[in-house]
Every structure is written in C-alpha cells, then in structure tokens.
Symmetry: C3
Subunit: 463 residues, 3 copies
C-alpha cells in the first residue's frame, strides 16, 4: 500500500497522496470489491491504530511480514480510496489477535449513525455520515498454522459465530464471509468447512476460498490445466455448503467468496527485515501465468451460480498485475485477461459445452485444449477462449443453442512468443492484448483460429 | 433502569434521582437480592464504563437490545440503591465480551480494602469502605446462541472456572452462580450443566435456571399447569447437581439459583432502535398471569431445600410488576401474589400433601386443581392456595399433622372477572388483592371456599 | 524479590538498591539462567505494569499469593540485575490472564531494535540497545487448576502455539519452553505433554518439568531415594518428547527444562494477607534436605543429554538457600551442594556405573546407597557422591574406563550431626561444606570413605 498506491511523495501523487498513474491503470480493471487490510496482515491488525490524527498513530511491528506498519493509511483513507475508485469496500476483521468485540466496534465505527462511542469517533474523524460497508470477512486463513492466532476448526467456529452475531447486532444489513479452507493441502480440508458452517448456522453468508498456483516444474501443459483443479475446489466447497444446509434443514446456504487467488510461486521473499513499505514477493508474470489467470476467471464465470465474490490478490507490486519502480509503472501480463474479461462482465453466465480434443495434465487432471466460458449480456454474447496447446493453432466454432450470431462487435487476443515471455520495465510490450480480427460469421455461428498459447475475448451480436 | 427507577427529571425523583413512588411500591415486595446489570445486557457490559465521574462515562452501543447505554447508572449508584432499599446486591459479571480478569477486578473494586489499583479506584469514587458484595453470577445464559460471546459447554466451563478461581482469590467469602441451562428447549439441556459443574468442581456454589412461560394458545388450564413443568425443571437441575457431586465424591453440592423467571409472551419487541432508555417488552399482565406467577413462587417454596435464590425478572416496565407512564405508576396483576407471599416468607417450608381432583394440561402434565405450599413461621402457619379451576369454586380443608390450627390471623384473596382481565392506567383496580374473610376454624383445621381462578394467602395461628 | 534481593532501604543496599551481601552469596552459586517473574505469580502479571517511571507504576493485587505487587521491580530492573550477576535472563510470559499478543509485545520490548511501538518504549525507558533475551517460558503450570487462567491441554496447546509463533515472528532467535506436566500427580500427566507437543510442533524448543519433594512422614531412607523418582520423571518426559518427534516425523525434538525444583513441605503459608513483600513459605532446610538437593543435581547431571536447563526455585527467602532477617543473612544447608557442584560444572557428563549395595525406599523405589555422577572437564574429573546410609560409612573406589586418576585436586564434604540438623540465625554453621582430605590415589583409582548421610564433591586429575 505504502509504495505503489499511497505514495504522497511521488510525482504522480494526487491531492490525497495516491499515484494517479496507478489508479488510472487500475480503473481499467473495473474491479468491484476491494478487500482490506489483508491477508495474513489482518490477523495482527488493530483498526483503532489506523484512525484519528495521523501524527498520533503508532508505528507497530507487523509480525506477519516482519515489517513496520506506520498506520498512515487506515480505515478512513481506505474508504476515500474506494469512493474515488468506485470500489465496494470489503473489510476483513482481525480474528487472530483481535476479539469479536473489536470487530463489532469496527462495524459500529463504519456503519452506525453517530451517538455512541465508536460511531462518534468516526464523526469526529471527519465523516458524520456512516460508511455503510456491506461486506466483512471474519478473519483470514485461520486454518493455517502460519496465521497469527491460528486455532482448530471448533475454536474458529466459536470465535467467528461470536463475531458474526455481534457484528450483525451492530448492523443487521451487513454480509459476512467465514474463513473456509484456505488451501486444499491442509489435513483439515473440508472438515474445517463443515464444522465452521455448522456452528455458524445462518450467520455465514459466504465462505472463503484461496488459491495460489504456479509452474515450479516447468510443465506448461499441466500448469495450464490448473483450471480443472480450480473447478474442482469450487465444486467441493459448494458441496460442503449444500451438505451443511441440508443437515441444518435451513433455507439459507452459504455462497462462495474466492477472496484470494493468483499465480504465485517464483518469489517467496516474505521477510520485510523490520522496515516499512518493503517490496515483498514481487512476481514477474509471463504468458503462461496470464493464461492461468484467464483460467481462474473462466472457472469463476462457469460457477457464477455459487461464486459470488472473487478478489485477485493483490493489486500493486505484491504478486500484482501492476508494478512500480520509482515513478515508472509496468503493466504485467496477467493484467490483460482481467481487463479483457472485466469489461465484458455484465450479463448472465451461460452453460458451455466443449466438443474437441483433450489431454491429461500430470497433476491437475483432464482438460480440453480449449477452455471456455460465456456471458449473455444485453443483446450481446461475450465469449472467452483459451488455447492451451503449446504448438497447435485451434479452429473454433461458436454457436448458441437458441439464437443466431449475426456479427462480431469486438475481439482481443493475448498471446506471446513463448510460455515464459515476460514484460519488463525495459521491454514492456512483450505480452499485451491486441485486436483480434479473424472472427468470421457464417450460418449463425462464429469461427476463428486461436493461436497456440493464446487467450481471446470477444463480443458477438445475436440476431 | 433509566426510565422507571432512575429518573432524575421526574416529579417523583428523590435526592439521588430515584422515583420515590416506584421505590415505595417496590418496598412492599420485600425483595431480598437484586440482580444487576442483566440479563443479556451483561454479556456486553464493561463495569469500568459505569464508574468514575459521570460526565466522563461513555455512551456505548448495547448490542443485546440494540440500544444506547449512557452508563449514568453504574456500580456505585447500584450499591446506593441496594442500601436504600435493603436489597442484597447480586452482581453478574460479563463472560461474553469480558475476561475472567475483568471479573476479578470488579470483585477487587467492590470488596477489597483500599491499597491496590481497583480498590483504590472505588475509594477515590467515594467509598473508602468495601461494598462486601457476596453474590456474583458468572455470566448470563451463555448456552444460548443469542448471547454475546456464546460458547459451547466445555468452553464456558473453562472460562467460568477461571473467573471463579480468580474472583475467589480476590475475595474468598463470595458466593458464585454458574450459568446453567437457561431453557429446557436447547439441545444442550442437562449436558451443559453436567459439563460445567464437573469442570468447576467446588467453585460452583449455585447453578442458575431461567424460565419464561406464557399462554400463546389461549389454553388457560394448560397454562395454569405450568407449575408442574417448573417443579420438573427444578428437580432435573437438582439431579444434575447431585449426580456431579456423587461423581466427584465431593462434600460440596451446587444449589439452585432461579435468577430469571416470569410470564413473558405477549410483547417481543426487543429492538431499542438505537436509542437509550426505551420502553421495550412491556407486558400487560392479566389474572391468569398472576396465578402463574403464584405458581412459580409456590414451586420455589416447595423446593426451598435446593432453590436458594430466585429473582423475578424484572422489576419496572420491562416485563415487570410495575409500569410507569410519565409520572403515573401502575401496579400490575403479578405484583400481588409476590407481595402476598413475600410478606409471609419467614419460616420453614413444609412438605404439603394435596388430596383432591386433578386434571391433565395439554403440555405441562397432570396437576391438582388446587396448587399449594406452606411455611411454618414463629407460631404461625402461612398457607398459599391457588384454585386453577376456571368455573368451579373449591372447598378446601387445611390441617397440620402434629398441631392444631386455632385461629386465622390474616388472609387475602386475588381473583378477577376473567382469565384475561388486566389492570390499566385507566382502570387500575381490576386485579387486586383484597381481604379474604371466609376462613373458618373447626376441630383444629381451617376451611374456606376458593373462588374459581383465585389465589389466597393466609396466616393461621397454631395451638 | 522486595525483601531479600531488592531492598533499597537496607544497610547492605548497593547503588541500585540490591543487597550486596545477598548478591555476594548468590555469586558463589554460579547460577547461569535466572527465571523471572514467576511461578504462579506470572499468570496474573502484566509486564507493562512494571516498566516506565516508577512513580507511575500501579500497585496491583497479586491473586496467586494474595499479596500486593508494587511493580517497583520490573523488566528493566531485572535485566540490570542479570547483567550485574552474569545471569542469562529467562522470562516467563503470562498465558493465564495475558494474551499471546502481550507476550510477543514483550519480546518486541526486550529484543527488537527501536523503530516500533514497544521497542521504542524500551529505548525511552533508557535502553536503546535491545536486551537480547533468549529464553522464554510459555506460561507456568497451566495444567494445574490452581493456576490463574488454567485450561485443559488442548486449549493450552492452542494458546502456546499462538504465543510461540508470534514471539518467534518478533525474534526468530529466541528459544521457548512449553509448559509440561508440572507434577506427576495430576490425572493429565503425560497426556498433557503429548497434546501440547503435538500441537506446537517445531515451535517447542523445551518442555518444562517441576518437582517439589519432602519428608512429611519422617522416613529418611525413602526421602533420600527421591532421586530415583526424579530420574524416572525425567526419563518419562523425555519419552514423551521422543514419541511426539517420531509421530511428527520431525528432525526437531523438544528438550527438558526443569525450571522449578526444590525441597518444599514444611511451610505451606501461601497467603500474603493482602500485603506487599511478605515472607511466605520460608522453609528451614536440614541435612537430609541438602542431600536431596544434591540428588536433584546429580539426576540432572546424569541426564544432561536431555535436561538442558534447570532452575532451583527460589533464591532468597521463599523456599530458598539464603534467608534474610533484617540486615542479617543465613546460608541454609541446601546452599552447599549447589555451590559444590556448580563450581565443578564445566565439562561433559559421563555415564556412571555403580557396583554396590542397594535398598528399597517405601515410595521412591530401589536405589544404591551411593548416588553418584561425574563430569569430564579439561584434564580433570569431577565426581559427586552421596552416601544415603543413615548409620554406615561407605568405602568408595572410583575408576575411569580409559584413563588413570593421578591425583586429587580438591574435595569437599557436607555432612552433619543428624538428618534434621539445621542452620539458624543463632547457630549458622551446623551444616556447612568443609574440606575433605581423605581421598587417596592408588593404581589409577581414587579411594575414600564417605561418612553416613554425607555428600562429597571432588576434582581429580587424570593422567
């Protein structure tokens, strides 16, 4: 946050201290909700440290990243940034070192009319009007032994239920995200989710999923098949939600909030060496990473009936689509699939059927060479296509069961010279979305040829 | 509290701000112990908010009732009120959002001689002498998911043991009430009590019971049979106490503290809409409610060997025997059985045997038409009688196994025109205790005829 | 602490307020690590009460000993004392009423460079340089129901894991001692240890053992056999550590920290009657107590491969080798075996084989009359011998498997007129180490005759 977004000393800084170049690049990603303040960080974060006069805010030790937190950016600054960017605020409370009461006090600070202690504190910090923050996460990755304040499922369930009840007492209109299994690798996978959801009952509006993937073995075909594994993770978590709903005989089912996901495997430097605003885990993204990010997004889209929220982690510098270096800014490869899809996101997700060849990834299972998803917008059909083949172009024919495609409105292509090709400050245009002209319409169907290792997003007009 | 008892602005206010008309009416109820500060409220209450200079006390959000708590009435005001009224103070500590340490600090504040931090705080707030508060409740209804900080039995047991040990370290002379099952309807009923009592060991002096009853189906006979269900609840909790004592091979057994009970079913408005001192859950009590309140009291009396404490919840306005409206005061129907019995409470509870017709309530089980209990005072026999019949008067003959009744000293009757007859500010004498003259003495026995739907309390002289 | 060590008003007080006579006596004990601030005390201790300007530190109620704690001696004073005495500081964090966060804040206070809140607090209290405290105990005796904040094993395991992770996040170089079973008598013995060690995983560097022994039945032979029971306790805890290491398939094994041990059975006054600096549990030690203390030390020495730390509890006045009365100082019997062994402690513990008669203690099992241990120092062999016989001297012959003993360098003897003989302020030389001249060397072996009820420490020169 302190270098990249909020950088009052930068030549790009706006009146509030935000880098206008970065915000401009972010605006093109059309993000809806922005989660804050973390991540692992949140499990040691006390929100009161970050409000009130800036000169009185303490600089504290951030145990999660072994860094300093100056608290110059806090709740009020975050809300202003959300408003500037049109983001829906999504706050994560501290259930590591924080109490359920501290969490509900934060809801009071943000959402209650003035007249009681914490609401009055907000008013005296400059905002008489409540912030109306609707989305709240009940901690972060509490199932992981690396998390500050980690507890077994039964204990997290108790704490989350306590916090949820109190937070909804403070503002019944909020929606809550319970911590689900943060990785498919922990022994507690699924059992954690069952216990938490059962104990929380109707208080859990969403359950969270996290996923980071990578290509440590340099096995591009398997890596590109990651979306099969992501599909499976989503479907398994949904099964847990449905199981608990059934067992509880409740009308309420928790939906999925995929609130951390990205490619992350190259840089594991997580030690801030005791300093503030360090450039930790900056990951240089390549073409195959961009195709995998497209895979995440396509998987979410195919499961839009249950995945209601998804948050790319993170936005700038730390495993992010945008890097800064001094006053420079670099758009990374993974920026493009996000942009290509987010500008076509309005509408209803369609069920897609693929007829074509498939292959077996070494760890992620069987997938079609072509990964696809589609949205039916107002009179427009948005289609997304990834060609996973490393060497063969693929002829694709797109049809809609009950309509005819009459024209192509727009289409973009993302590809590059090799799976590992990367943008850099020195050569920033290696991986970049370009117009894709080769879409032809015939007999109500669209046809195109996808280059190997490519991602295409197109908008078609229906008759 | 803020409207009804502590109302400095009222024309009835005394020098301390209490309504003298209300206190006068309460005095006739002869209450012994007064529980404070709640109820559900206590699980979010921090006692330190309510001590010290009033202008510095925070106005906080009361999550339990969605109200504001101004903290103008706190520990010191409560103790003064208890002294004014001759009530034994009975404080409930916060085991919802509060810690065992906060609880023991409160014991230090109230009961330790000056010389350490919290005892000195009391002294500097005006009372050099300790308050010697003997009765302390370890939280409130922690088994209920609606309770702030609700936990499963094992977790409450740990927290209660921690608090109890520390509180008794601070003052070994105090007596403690552990939270028992607060309703017979929760799945954890009895198992909660077993676990808590086993883990607390000799630290539990009492275990609490709560009960609210009502007549939502307009079934007066079943409603009046509620005392059978109350008897059963008491006997079941006593069985839990005896079981744990046996298993622990201990000389110490926990006794019962029935610290919340009343009729409550007509008004379920529990939302204070964010304001302070709201008139929530004001219940208008009728004749059948008064007879059921008599049923509670008679059940407690019959089980006086194990029910050592019982507290009507509450005293003014909120489900209470006394209502205020501006400067007016209304005595509700349930006030009378309480008054009739409490003025005859001194002595030993007797075992009573009823010989007469009975009937089967739809949900509460089989009961005699006549509900009765008796106290042997100094040379006097106090007898209490309820006639549950809706339409038949009942001839009653009262005898004592080893003594002769020689005269009737006093007797009062409570009845009314119909089960649903109610006092109101407009017509406040519909349900009211009146002298009962029809008691005759013959052959060492007393005889009288109880009208249908009536309650009688009498004091007889023994030879 | 407040009377005996830190006594600014004493005529023996040095510039920092410490009694120089006491420190001088302690120096001869050559202690390495000094544990602070407790004991049971620590489970109610908040370290922040004891730092900063002394006049602002609160006088608080000490629930563990029913005393007052003035907090005039705190972390900074303790560190200065450690430096003055050459002791390694060993801090115990409060896991009774304290949080894992409070513990990690203390690590920050002590060990982090300035720049964050608590490290800056230390700097502003006078020490810009961190204290580099390496040894930290994760609470005290949390398995005992008498402990403030006592919890079952699973709950302690969670809290200890949380604290350990956060404390090591604050300073990865520290070593941590988890609470093990504090007595062999609790039902949770061994199962507590298994659960705690399994949940903590590699975060547990050490697990603690405590042991207090006595002779309440006046059975000297059995009492002197206590070392058999101490051996067994050590070997059982080591088995728990090895079991968990195996089950976890880890390269890391927890070692043993015997951080409280002593003779304690005569004086059980543990109530400070609400006052500060009381003389509680002052135990008058006799000859047999000194021999049992030698037995503890010999057992630790024999198990030096797994017992890495051991702390005599305590040092002055409270069950201690040194007593003060006004300005007077008394060296108790147990002082001597400690001194005799600690000045010979450098080197490697040897495996010893005893060939000689044995007997069966009533409760502690079978032991040789001669208890022994040995250290191979630089060219020197240190041998320790206890003769448990109440009436017979014992001829002892000492040999080394692969070397010849060539001369005796020094030897001391501790014995006395009877098992119950005791030093007092009036007669302080009853039990005292004296030179032992009767060691003869023949054929590469040493020979001597041990008087009944005696302890000998000798240093022999190897060829």
């Amino acid at each position: 946050m302190y270098e990249g977004v909020f950088e009052p000393g930068s030549s790009h800084a706006d009146a509030d201290g935000y880098r206008s170049d970065v915000l401009e690049a972010l605006r093109h990603l059309n993000m809806t909700a922005m989660r804050y303040p973390g991540g692992n960080f949140v499990s040691g974060y006390h929100w009161q440290d970050g409000v009130g006069p800036r000169e009185k805010r303490p600089t504290v030790l951030d145990l999660a990243w072994h860094s300093k937190e100056t608290n110059q950016f806090g709740t009020d600054e975050y809300i202003r940034l959300c408003r500037k960017m049109g983001w829906l605020p999504m706050l994560a409370v501290n259930l590591g070192t924080g109490t359920p009461e501290e969490a509900s006090n934060w809801v009071e600070y943000c959402n209650r009319p003035a007249g009681t202690l914490y609401a009055d504190m907000r008013a005296s910090n400059g905002s008489e009007q409540p912030y109306a923050v609707k989305l709240w996460c009940l901690g972060n990755e509490m199932d992981g032994p690396w998390q500050l304040g980690h507890v077994p499922a039964d204990q997290y369930a108790i704490r989350a239920q306590q916090a949820a009840k109190m937070m909804k007492d403070a503002d019944p209109s909020i929606e809550l995200v319970a911590c689900g299994s943060c990785t498919i690798d922990l022994e507690s996978y699924m059992e954690w989710d069952r216990r938490v959801l059962e104990h929380m009952g109707d208080l859990a509006d969403y359950v969270s999923l996290h996923r980071y993937v990578g290509d440590p073995n340099n096995d591009t075909p398997d890596y590109l098949a990651a979306s099969a594994s992501i599909d499976r993770q989503i479907e398994e978590m949904d099964a847990a939600c449905r199981f608990v709903q059934a067992k509880r005989r409740s009308n309420k089912r928790a939906y999925l909030c995929f609130d951390e996901w990205n490619v992350w495997y190259k840089n594991h430097e997580t030690d801030g060496a005791g300093e503030a605003g360090q450039h930790l885990i900056e990951e240089a993204y390549d073409l195959e990473d961009a195709l995998v990010v497209a895979g995440f997004l396509q998987s979410f889209l195919r499961h839009a009936d249950v995945v209601k929220i998804a948050n790319l982690a993170q936005i700038v510098n730390v495993i992010a689509p945008i890097l800064t270096r001094g006053d420079e800014l670099l758009i990374q490869s993974i920026y493009y699939p996000f942009e290509m899809m987010s500008k076509r996101r309005k509408g209803d997700s369609l069920r897609v059927v693929v007829d074509g060849p498939s292959y077996e990834g070494a760890t992620n299972g069987s997938v079609h060479y072509i990964d696809t998803s589609a949205i039916l917008g107002e009179g427009a059909l948005h289609v997304f296509l990834t060609n996973r083949s490393m060497d063969e172009a693929s002829e694709v024919c797109i049809g809609v069961a009950d309509s005819a495609i009459v024209s192509s409105e727009s289409a973009e292509l993302l590809t590059g010279p090799s799976p590992r090709a990367t943008n850099s400050f020195e050569d920033s245009d290696v991986i970049k979305a370009i117009p894709f002209e080769d879409v032809s319409i015939q007999h109500g169907q669209a046809r195109c040829e996808l280059p190997p290792l490519s991602f295409v997003a197109m908008t078609l007009k229906l008759g």
